[in-house]
C-alpha cells in the first residue's frame, strides 16, 4: 500500500493562521515558558497567555484552588505580571518559538481594554488578542461585561477600533443565552470567539464549615464542564458566521473531534495541562493520526460535520 500523504492540520480563524488547531488555554499555560522544559512550543497551534492587565495584579489570597469531581475550582483573582513586564521579560523569549502567541487581555473598565489593545498593536510576535470579557466592570456597578449583549458590543467595538490584530473574544457561560452575547461580539467586529470560560461554582469543607476557596466562589473547569461547553459551541456555531474556538474540559483527541464536529474550528486545552502537562503535544500527534486513519485529508473537513439526521 502506498503511504498516504500527511493530512493538513492547518486552520485559519478569520485572519489568524494556525499550523494546527491545538491551542493552550489562558490561565493554564502561564506565559508559555513554564511549559517550555516539557516540549517544543513551536509544535503547538498556538498558546494564550495568562490574562494580562495594564498593571501588575497581585490576585486573591489563598486558598485559590480546590479539586472537585472531574474538575477544579479556581479563584486566582487575575494575578499577572502586567503588560510592560510581559512585553519586556516574557515576549522576547516566547517569540523564538514558531507558534501563534495570543495575548489574553482584561480590565476593570472599557478604557483598560482599549489601553491594552493599543499597547499591543504592532508589537512584534503577537499573533492575536483574546479579550476576556468575564470580568466585572467597576464603572457599570460591577456587572460582568460579558453577561450583557450591549456592554459586550460596546467593549469589543472599542477594542476593535484600536488594533489591527485578530480579535478573539472569550465568552462566559454564566448567561441565559450565550448566542446573544456571541452575536454582539460578532457584530462589534470580533474575528473569532473562544467559548467557554469557567462556570461559577462553590465548594465547602464540611470539617471546618468554611468555603474551600478564600474568595468563596470560583470558576469550575475540567472534564466536568465539557458537555456544557460542547452544547454552547454547538448552539453558537448555528448563530454566528465567525470561527469558534472550543474550550472546556477537553482532555483527549476524541474530545477535540467532538468540539470540531459541533462547529469549532480550533480548540483550547485548559485544565488538562495541569494533570497531563504534555497533552497539547500529544493531541497534535493523535489528531494527525486520527485523520490519517480515517482518510481525511484536511482537518477543516471535521468542522461542523456533525450528523444530525
Amino acid at each position: 500500500m502506498v503511504a498516504r500523504a500527511s493530512p493538513s492540520l492547518s486552520v485559519e480563524l478569520n485572519g489568524l493562521k494556525l499550523k494546527n488547531p491545538i491551542i493552550a488555554a489562558s490561565g493554564t499555560f502561564g506565559y508559555g515558558l513554564e511549559y517550555a522544559p516539557l516540549g517544543d512550543l513551536g509544535k503547538l497551534g498556538g498558546m494564550v497567555t495568562k490574562g494580562l492587565s495594564m498593571w501588575e495584579e497581585k490576585g486573591n489570597p489563598p486558598p485559590r484552588i480546590c479539586e472537585t469531581p472531574a474538575g477544579m475550582l479556581n479563584s486566582i483573582g487575575l494575578e499577572n505580571i502586567g503588560m510592560e513586564n510581559f512585553i519586556s521579560q516574557k515576549l522576547p523569549q516566547l517569540i523564538q518559538y514558531d507558534t501563534a502567541i495570543i495575548v489574553n487581555i482584561w480590565g476593570r473598565e472599557i478604557d483598560d481594554y482599549i489601553k491594552a489593545a493599543e499597547r499591543l498593536d504592532g508589537v512584534n510576535g503577537v499573533a492575536a488578542l483574546e479579550v476576556n470579557i468575564s470580568c466585572p466592570n467597576i464603572k457599570k456597578g460591577g456587572i460582568t461585561f460579558g453577561t450583557d449583549p450591549s456592554v459586550t458590543f460596546e467593549l469589543v467595538q472599542a477594542v476593535r477600533g484600536k488594533t489591527s490584530l485578530p480579535l478573539l473574544v472569550k465568552l462566559t457561560p454564566n448567561v441565559t443565552d450565550i448566542t446573544l452575547i456571541a452575536r454582539s461580539a460578532e457584530d462589534a467586529g470580533a474575528n473569532a470567539l473562544s467559548l467557554i470560560n469557567t462556570l461559577l461554582g462553590m465548594e465547602i469543607d464540611v470539617s471546618t464549615r468554611r468555603p474551600s476557596l478564600a474568595n468563596i466562589t470560583g470558576g469550575l473547569s475540567g472534564p466536568a464542564i465539557r458537555p456544557v461547553a460542547l452544547r454552547m459551541v454547538y448552539q453558537t456555531a448555528k448563530k454566528v458566521n465567525i470561527p469558534i474556538v472550543g474550550v472546556g474540559g477537553i482532555s483527549s483527541v476524541a474530545d477535540v473531534i467532538k468540539f470540531m464536529l459541533a462547529g469549532a474550528s480550533a480548540v483550547q486545552i485548559g485544565t488538562a495541562n495541569f494533570f497531563d502537562p504534555t497533552i497539547c503535544w500529544r493531541l497534535v500527534n493523535e489528531l494527525e493520526e486520527y485523520l490519517r486513519n480515517e482518510n481525511i485529508s484536511d482537518v477543516n473537513q471535521l468542522v461542523g460535520a456533525l450528523r444530525e439526521e
Binding site: T28, G30, P62, P223, A224, F274
Partner: protein
C-alpha cells in the same frame, strides 16, 4: 542552566507501609534522581481517572543509589484523602505519571565549616529532610536533628537518620518516645542552651510548627529555611494556585508560588 523537568510514566518499584497510614514508595528514574536537589518535589498523578483529577505534590524523600549512581528516588507520604488512599493501593509494576523534579529546594550553597545546620521535622514533614540530611553529611556537615510526632509509631525514618550517624533529638506529643511535647519546645530549649551558635534552621512540618520555628529563629538571630505545603494544580508555576504571602523587600507583600519560588522559603519572609 536550562531547567530540566521530565514527564514520565514510571513503574512503581516497591511500596510498603512503614507505620499505620504511612507509606514509602520507590520509583526508578535516573533522569529525575540525577538532577533533583533536597527540598524539591514531584507531581504524581494517581491513575488515569478524573476523580481525583489533579496530581499530588510529593517531596523527594531520598535518592536511591547504587555504586554512587543515582538510580531513582523514594516518596514518603501519609494517607490523608482520596488521592493518597488510592495511591496506597498501588503495587509494584503499576505505573505512575510523574512530573519533576520541581521547585526551589533548600539553599545549601553558602554552607561552610564552622556552621551548624539544624534540621527540624514534624510529622510527615520529615519527608524532604532525609534527602537534606544526606546532602549535608556529604558536604561534611553534622546537622543537629530534631524530630517530632504524635507518637512513637509515627516517628518516621528515625533509623535512616541514625544510619547517617546522626542522633536525632526526639519528641512525641503523647510521650511514648523521647521528650513529651512539641518538637518546637525541644528546639527552643536547645537554642537557649547554645546561644551564639552560627547556624541555620531547615524545617518542614505543619504550618503552626513552621510559624513557631520562624519566630524562634528570629529571636535567636538565626536564618531559617522552611518547606511549605499548599494545594497545587500544575506544580509548574502556571496556574498560580499554590501561592503564599511573602513580605516584599521594601514594603507590603506579594504572592509567591510554593511550586516555583518555593516550596522552601526564608522563614523571615513568610507572612503567616
Amino acid at each position: 542552566m536550562e531547567k530540566r523537568i521530565y514527564h514520565l510514566s514510571l513503574p512503581l518499584r516497591k511500596q510498603n507501609s512503614i507505620a499505620p497510614g504511612y507509606w514509602l514508595l520507590s520509583l526508578k528514574s535516573a533522569q529525575i534522581a540525577s538532577v533533583a536537589t533536597p527540598g524539591q518535589f514531584v507531581m504524581l498523578k494517581i491513575g488515569k481517572s478524573f476523580d481525583p483529577l489533579l496530581p499530588r505534590p510529593m517531596s523527594i524523600h531520598s535518592i536511591i543509589k547504587e555504586d554512587n549512581h543515582r538510580l531513582g528516588f523514594t516518596i514518603l507520604y501519609k494517607v490523608v484523602g482520596k488521592g493518597t488512599r488510592l495511591l496506597a493501593e498501588k503495587r509494584s509494576g503499576e505505573s505512575l505519571a510523574i512530573v519533576g523534579p520541581l521547585g526551589t529546594g533548600f539553599n545549601l550553597n553558602h554552607i561552610a565549616s564552622g556552621y551548624e545546620p539544624i534540621v527540624v521535622g514534624g510529622g510527615i514533614g520529615i519527608a524532604p529532610l532525609l534527602f537534606l540530611a544526606h546532602e549535608l553529611v556529604e558536604k561534611g556537615q553534622t546537622p543537629t536533628v530534631f524530630l517530632g510526632a504524635n507518637s512513637q509509631e509515627e516517628l518516621l525514618a528515625l533509623d535512616e537518620f541514625e544510619s547517617l550517624r546522626l542522633t536525632p533529638k526526639v519528641s512525641t506529643e503523647d510521650g511514648s518516645k523521647g521528650v513529651k511535647g512539641m518538637v518546637t519546645d525541644l528546639l527552643a530549649s536547645y537554642l537557649d542552651d547554645s546561644k551564639g551558635s552560627q547556624g541555620e534552621i531547615f524545617a518542614c512540618g505543619p504550618a503552626p510548627m513552621l510559624k513557631k520555628v520562624a519566630s524562634l529563629a528570629k529571636s535567636y538571630g538565626l536564618k531559617s529555611q522552611l518547606s511549605l505545603e499548599q494545594r497545587m494544580a500544575c506544580g509548574l508555576g502556571a496556574c498560580l494556585g499554590c501561592v503564599v504571602k511573602i513580605r516584599n523587600k521594601n514594603s507590603g507583600h506579594s504572592y509567591q508560588r510554593v511550586c516555583t519560588e518555593g516550596p522552601v522559603f526564608n522563614g523571615e519572609d513568610i507572612i503567616w
